[in-house]
Symmetry: D2
Subunit: 340 residues, 4 copies
């Protein structure tokens, strides 16, 4: 097989991050994230966020981050509101429910929530015989590659504040999401209560940085992540990677790189009159091929089968921090050969 476009976590680690780890390999560091690299990484992130007083915690894995944050925010009888396509609803094997909470879903549009969705959910839940909606969960970029604009996030966040809801952004693909939208990193502090900055899907061995902006959510979060099995003995392993990723804007450049290659692919596919399931500005694109074409393509490349579209099949190509222009050009050439 020539290459896998299956996901953005097939490749180990960005060379600069691996170099940073290598460099620290003769050090002794304090455990549980209380080390100098984690401190330095937090400082760098805060500078980029222009938010001096947020709290930052490193964990590994998006499900872990989501389950830790959501179960920290909610009271036992409260539910989290999510788009039905939300990762917490579909692809976490009930990890949120395992902490005791309903994931209440609304259909949304293009994988995105609107204030109207939240409003209808609030109206529907009127008394103590139903769960209380306690927070809203979104992903930037979304599970289907779309992004929220700053105005959209602002509207959602304002709506949440007016309705006593916490607002949480799952940033598993935040780097790509920022690069594809008008949302500046330093605006996020005014656009949500808590978020996580995804590392695993953008060139780290693993690691996500949970950022807590809302003061009421800060106390005792270290207890909470330990209770959820999410506190790493060698927290500095994640700290070192975030330090390196935020030292030179590498974190942001990787997402730009992904999106550029994805745009190249979608542009070329359009030239070839291959339909796309959606207009995704991020690193996931969804071309539609015939069954035969898909089978031939599978002999050369790995990718996800997404869904049936009438008698055809939408597949998913994901570009990563590690994907090269060359392999994308080759893919297009192979597709050209395929469709002739």
């Amino acid at each position: 097989m020539k290459h896998s476009f299956k996901n953005d976590y097939s490749e180990l680690c960005h060379p600069q991050l691996l170099a940073a780890l290598q460099k620290a390999s003769n050090e002794q560091n304090a455990g549980y994230g209380l080390d100098k690299h984690s401190d330095s990484a937090k400082k760098l992130i805060k500078e980029k966020l222009e938010s001096g007083d947020c709290d930052i915690h490193f964990v590994t894995g998006g499900t872990q981050a989501n389950a830790s944050v959501i179960s920290h925010i909610l009271r036992p009888y409260e539910a989290v509101l999510s788009c039905s396509t939300g990762h917490i609803n579909v692809h976490e094997t009930g990890a949120i429910e395992a902490t005791g909470h309903k994931v209440y879903t609304v259909p949304g549009v293009d994988g995105k929530l609107t204030p109207k969705d939240i409003e209808s959910a609030l109206k529907y839940h009127q008394d103590e015989h139903m769960v209380k909606i306690g927070m809203v969960y979104i992903s930037q970029s979304t599970e289907i590659g779309t992004v929220y604009s700053e105005a959209e996030l602002k509207t959602l966040y304002d709506f949440c504040k007016e309705n006593d809801l916490y607002f949480y952004i799952d940033g598993a693909r935040l780097s790509s999401g920022l690069a594809a939208s008008d949302v500046e990193f330093n605006r996020l502090k005014d656009l949500c209560d808590v978020m996580y900055i995804g590392g695993t899907k953008i060139g780290m061995l693993s690691g996500e940085a949970i950022v807590i902006f809302h003061n009421q959510l800060k106390p005792f979060f270290r207890y909470h992540i330990k209770n959820k099995g999410a506190m790493l003995a060698k927290g500095y392993v994640v700290g070192i990677q975030f330090e390196a990723a935020f030292e030179n804007d590498l974190y942001f450049k990787m997402g730009q790189h992904e999106n550029e290659l994805a745009r190249y692919l979608s542009d070329e596919l359009k030239k070839l009159s291959i339909p796309l399931l959606s207009e995704s500005p991020t690193n996931q694109i969804f071309p539609i091929f015939s069954k035969e074409q898909v089978e031939k393509l599978q002999q050369l490349y790995a990718f996800e089968i997404w869904e049936l579209v009438e008698d055809k099949i939408a597949i998913r190509f994901v570009t990563s921090w590690s994907t090269t222009k060359e392999v994308c050009v080759e893919l297009i050439e192979d597709i050209k050969a395929l469709i002739q």
Copy 2:
């Protein structure tokens, strides 16, 4: 400060493991532990275990491993039996209880359980108004550095089998525990139902290998670790490390190394007539100093304050895979100077 003897997870990663990661850095690997390195690592571990049909799963972190295994084994009304010094009882911030289960404790002796302890627990729990003891948890080596002999493990395991209890070994420090006891690695398949082989505390960036011997515990464990937030997208990061650690018996040599240096320290301390809190054959030793001596030592070295012993203080020195003979010799010299 000259050196930290605080724990065995202060140093990043054994050079051979880091080299293995480096070597794989240009590959694309399948996600979620379904990659060739994880397969190869499992094969190597099974060969060493001489157990062809056990199931192996990689996670990161001991609390995560313990919570995943225990909540997989127990029914909602069941409890896990542990020594009161057990890690799950003391140092996991209620992570086991967070999955819904009581940790029922007995005092034990030297951090170890006996069949008598289990028997008394079973006798005490007679009907449905009390929890049902569903499994027994031990650590090898224990939280205070002691080890079970093969005969002791066999007796415990037989007792468990006669009483329909699952028997689980927490191997956070298994390498050191094996090196200090007469238990051979390939005997473990007949000495427990499930265990985990600790990596974080023996030279890995992080990573633990859960090994399931009992057939009834095998099905659907991948669902379970995903549900508990313990399934890694980049499972191969752990797979690569275990592959390297088991290729050349590195895993076992590291524990031997730790124990040798710890023995050197305890032998020298005895020569200096410095009392030890316990006879620990593993990589944790507990010398007793006066308050003044401890304070002076703290200016040169980092270590844990363990407990008060009358008007003196027991401290803990931990040797790691990375500790050198030189630093141990220097420590002894400094102690000699101190006590004159």
Copy 3:
């Protein structure tokens, strides 16, 4: 206000049940459901079920019964499949999720599931990144007053057995559901794995009888209900009521009575050309009135506002074991006056 048609739990207790309690008031009975009345009640229920070897447990409250049964059946990573209108999904304030399990919903038809619904749910959940569907939940009668026929139940149950799913019937309104369908009580043992016979909504002070047919679900259920806070010290209070309710078929007669009065109401409403939201053969009917009519009716009677139907309002009338023909006649007279 003349009368409340709001629900079927507004009236304390059927006189025969209260008399049975009165009669036992000078006795001493064993605690926790291990008394002679509970034994006798179980015997009577088993005779009616023609099932000698089912296990029966008394609890109080449908949410308690549902949460106890579902969390007993499912493994941590498993979900229960329900119609989106299912009580466990809508009206239990997340009680099922509080035990750690997702309630996965499909729309269904008329509040009822079909094998196609289950099949599509199973197809959708393919691997360990999604919950595993472990059981199917239905209600007889349903939350919107409809009933399953014996053939429908048989088809569902067979489908579940072929697909290794447990099948559970919530019988909060079983008496009314049986009276309105062709399902005989003694057929239920072959139509599900576990069910509960609702008492609270059919003339008991409170009390539901969980009936476990499937052998694998029987062991340790008493531990489980104690763990869930559902074991009553004075279990005999429920036992006495079920004993009295099953001594003379009272349990079944009450449902017939409810349904007859509901049918009288719906027949009369149809004569008056008042539309009904659905064809409900049970004790809940849903007539549609104008906003003004509803307001006038509210001055005389209590009832639930169900939903908007264009510019009109569907309301819910519930008849109970205690409702009299007289009050129904009066209601119809008042409606006649109202619509003139």
Copy 4:
């Protein structure tokens, strides 16, 4: 068998409470505790408490009350501190842990906690690697029949307030506990943050009244008990009983009655030189007999075997609201015959 002294929930219901139920049997009442009887009962209890602004909620069963209150108070990483003899630790089949929380225990003295116990627990739990003690649980009277004085409760409560701990009193046997101590009912509002007034063990069919004094614990508790399966559809069944029990001080008189008979028994036993395991001023007493005497007594009376005391056996006699002087006199006569 002549009589059971096994517990205080062997008899159905005090005649006055049953009469009150009978009287309400022709009414229609609002569901879920929002009825006039529950309102009236709350008003009466508040008057007796001289606390106008506490919140009162009715549930059925002590385990349900305990699990509901404790899981409402604690954050996920917090534990409840209890005496090791505490009901939540021993006899609730892990119901508290099922809500996710550790029950941390200290030995206590005579079934009672002291500030020193709490202090040592707080000292032991120093950082995020251990649970955080979030609340203190005691029982009045205790599980072994002892009582706290007002001064003792005051000291405990003050200590809790100084240390940011919630203080909760399990009043399963509050009536007996108050009658045996110097604690006045109207003082309780200044002696704890939340408590429950037990009904099941003092003459009700079932029913406990959770009283929340602390303002921060009041919001959304109705959601919480629904989430925990503890909200009764026919809440008025409990409301009616508490209304009747508090209308004429019946609630308090029943405890006095129990204690008087228990004191009669212990006085007579002392006269007969039969040793008592403890000095219990409440309705549980623990005489010590030889094995032969116990066996003979078992032919006449039912009672619990409590524990072995050297070669003898301590048994438990419980007097209830329903126990008569006659049956106690007869018991003493039978014991006299036995020991001759």
